[in-house]
Amino acid sequence: MPESKNLLRMMEIDKSFPGVHALKEVDFDLAEGEIHILLGENGAGKSTLIKILAGMYHADSGQIEISETPTIIPDARTGRDLGISVIYQELNLVPDLSVAKNIFLGREPVLPGIMKRVDWARVEQESLAIMERLDVKIDVNAPVRSLSVADQQMVEIARALVFDCKILVMDEPTSSLSGHEIEELFKAVNRLREHGVGIIYISHRLEEVHEIGDRVTVLRDGEYMGTWEVKEVELDFLITQMVGRTLDEKFPWTPREHGEVALRVRGLTRNGVFEDINFDLHYGEIVGLSGLVGAGRTEVARAVMGADPVDSGTVEMTRATKEKEEIQNLPHYPLWMAILDVVVLIMALPLFTVIFQGIYDPVTLNMNSPPPLFSGKWFYEWIIGGPLYNIPNGPTPYIVAAGLVVLRQAGLWFMERQYHWRTLVIDFASWYALAIGAMVITSLFTQNFVLEWVMIWGGVAMVLIRFLTILTYERKWTPTLAIRRGLGLLPEDRKTQGLTQVLSVAFNTTSANLRRLIKRWLLNLTMEKDLVDEHINQLKIMTPDQETQIRFLSGGNQQKVVLAKWLFRRANVLIFDEPTRGIDIGAKFEVHSQMLQLAKDGAAVMMISSELPEILGMSDRILVMREGQLTADIGRNDATQEQILRYAMTAD
């Protein structure tokens, strides 16, 4: 860098959170008109450093100098007044206000006079000027809602400029942008640099380091590794600086036999989130899914679970059922169609009556004797609401019924475009095959009361059979189905997504599978107590008793209760999402032991983790994701931290 004024210097910044030493005497400095890239793994302390700079956290020790003057930043407001702007990954804009209004939100110029009218013309002009300065073409009067993410980011940058910002922090600005948009962003950033703004740029894309960076600082595990001129360093060197977290943790890993395929994922795609994910998970295997935060790991897990919709791809669970479960591009049986089917059936009932004349003559019906149960009379009396004295002989009901059927097929065609034409044919054919079949079977009988019985209840059965038929080929992959097939997800946010905090251990364990406790329509509470005890002992859950509320348990024990819940559900394919986040070392080891024990007992385990040592220590096989794509599938013995990081951070 040429000699330029020093904007910011952070010296020996130290910060601890309960249980974590987040920053260990970190140094950082920034010059005017410089882009300084901040690199580090997940949890290396980048965000903490930025939050200290922005005034959201307070350093335990250390000094901050801004423009060579020692400064204390007590809150976010002060930080902003000092000219520090942070653009977070989640954009901070009001979607329904226009771009110009967003840029000036909180600082609108007011015209003099009693009317207190905001000078919108000036707001618009100045917004245009800022956009000009950034050299981007955005209609400043359009609502922010209508802009792309990239443009919204520009609006954020423009907002920072209105604050007269000197230090701009960008937290992974390119993570959701496309190639062209990134170029635009870089252009804007370079323009800012020319205007003398110092930019701190956090990124997970190592390619970007050489593209726009002037200097780069690497943090590892809260430690300051060094600062280098970008021109002087290789990517490989940076990677070696980032990895190397201590491997002294113990992992209870032992080799196991792997069984058949438990979960087969093929071509799983959700546009813009992940793309073409393929992997197999075997029984008895522990597979680690690694990658940076935001690479789409959790999203894949949720899609496999059926919790989120996907655009294409299949998930197959082999042992539970042999049938293939397609996730998407499959029609369902909409409610309106079911209702229409029943209506058509009821409309068509007189058809049977007319074909087999004389079997039900309501005119001669003796109203004093109640109709026999399960007879046609009963049906007319109770379902239709009284005897049909005027069962029509003319063609009207059939024309109406036929019209409804045509309407239904047409509606199917127009409203549910994703239906494959084959499904339409099958749907149409099956309905009529059943109808004709029922009629033919009915006509085989000659005795009237049998006819009636078969006719009416056969018709009802027909609809039921149709529902069942549809179930076999029109099924959506939903969490309900996934759980029924034996899949269990231990979510990252176990406190809210995995457990009910204010209810007891026993309730949380059994609530996902109460059916298992039901005897003669009632919950068998004795059995619940025994079974819950069994699980508490098996998983070594530290709890005073079963009735203790979950919120009084430690993080590790809460995680074990989530596991107990799935074991109680007899799940044998388990996906752990960040199973040991926020858990102390001892409990970590226990969770790992349980995971291993499960695999030994034949369950298939997938573990999503941001901690490389955990991934390396526990997995038999390691999958790496990068920006929504599976970039590597490495065996345990071949994997190293450097290799995983390279797959996670750089494009091939």
């Binding site: 009001v94 329904d96 600082r107 905001v118 000009e132 209609d139």
Partner: protein, 337 residues
């Protein structure tokens, strides 16, 4: 940089072109026109100036509480206490008029409306109670207070010994039924309220912050907007408008203090008009122009049904269907985008 300016730049009115009018608004306008045409053919007396003036005069109160509701809903709030505020204002203003004359009574009524609104705003903005709950509390407090004040009876009118002096009562009635030349007073009140609200929402910081609070509260707060003050101001203005609506309604009904004045479906109509008018129920979008259309749609829908001789129960069903349909349309539009 007018890069996005439309090619067909036909200016309609005050510099707006057709393309600036949102789809929902066009739909609403066309629905209104269709309704008008239908009633014109279905009834005899619908399309007369007399009918129009009568309807707007009788239902003028709805405009005010609908504007109040619109303001509150845009800021991602909800005001359930509107009917109660109307009741309280009705009885208190009547009492004040009895002792101190018309103008003091008028100011007392507005002041009490404002006070109720500010209390709502205090609970929402300072105590951070959910608007739904805070105003639910005010709903009960208000209706309880109104009935306590009068012992549950109507004040004035039929009651012995307590009637407003003649000139006061005349002035009170004039508020709702008077004319300025050919123009009814209520029209003037409505236009003043509409213009003020429109100006507030469009051209002042306050209005922008109302939209910002509704669109993204966190962003608004981090942009330095004073959340408690804004909420107090929003609910305060809402209360003031409800107070005026209460005065108008009691003046047009009987010029009496009626403790159950706002106990009917006034609140529901104000919410209905706001929603039909295109204001987003979770805030951030909408405006008083749309609400005005919504009010017009509701009052003329009901008026036409009245003329056709259709009973109140069926009318309510129709209003409900219109509300459902309007929400459904906007939901469909949103899903499409």
């Amino acid at each position: 940089m007018s890069a996005a300016a439309s090619t067909g730049n036909e200016k309609l009115f005050l510099g707006y072109s057709v393309k600036d009018i949102p789809f929902e608004r066009l739909l609403l306008i066309s629905a209104f026109i269709v309704l008008m045409i239908f009633y014109t053919f279905a009834t005899e007396n619908f399309l007369t100036l007399e009918n129009f003036v009568n309807v707007v005069r009788r239902d003028a109160w709805l405009f005010f509480i609908a504007y109040a509701q619109t303001l509150v809903i845009i800021s991602a709030g909800f005001d359930l206490s509107q009917g109660s505020i109307m009741s309280v204002v009705s009885v208190m203003a009547w009492s004040a008029m009895l002792h101190f004359g018309f103008f003091i009574g008028l100011i007392a009524g507005l002041g009490i409306g404002l006070l109720c609104g500010v209390i709502n705003g205090f609970f929402v903005g300072v105590a951070r109670v959910q608007p739904f709950i805070a105003t639910l509390g005010m709903l009960f407090i208000g209706s309880g207070a109104a009935q306590l004040w009068t012992g549950g009876l109507q004040m004035g009118g039929a009651r012995e010994g307590a009637t407003l002096p003649k000139h006061v009562e005349d002035a009170y009635v004039l508020l709702a039924k008077g004319n300025l030349g050919p123009i009814p007073f209520t029209f003037i009140w409505i236009i003043i309220a509409l213009a003020t609200m429109w100006y507030l929402l469009k051209y002042t910081r306050f209005g922008t912050y109302v939209y910002a609070l509704g669109g993204n509260e966190q962003t608004a707060i981090s942009a330095g907007i004073n959340f408690p003050a804004m909420k107090i101001a929003i609910f305060g203005i809402g209360g003031l408008l409800c107070g005026f609506a209460g005065l108008l309604l009691s003046a047009s009904v009987s010029a009496a203090g009626e403790p159950r004045l706002g106990g009917g479906d006034q609140l529901l109509q104000s919410i209905g008009a706001t929603i039909i008018g295109g204001t987003h129920i979770f805030g951030g979008r909408g405006g008083v122009l749309g609400t005005t259309l919504g009010v017009f749609l509701i009052i003329f829908l009901v008026n036409g049904l009245n003329i056709m001789g259709i009973d109140t129960y069926r009318q309510q069903i129709v209003v409900g269907l219109v509300i459902l349909a309007s929400i459904w349309v906007s939901t469909l539009r949103e899903q499409k985008n």
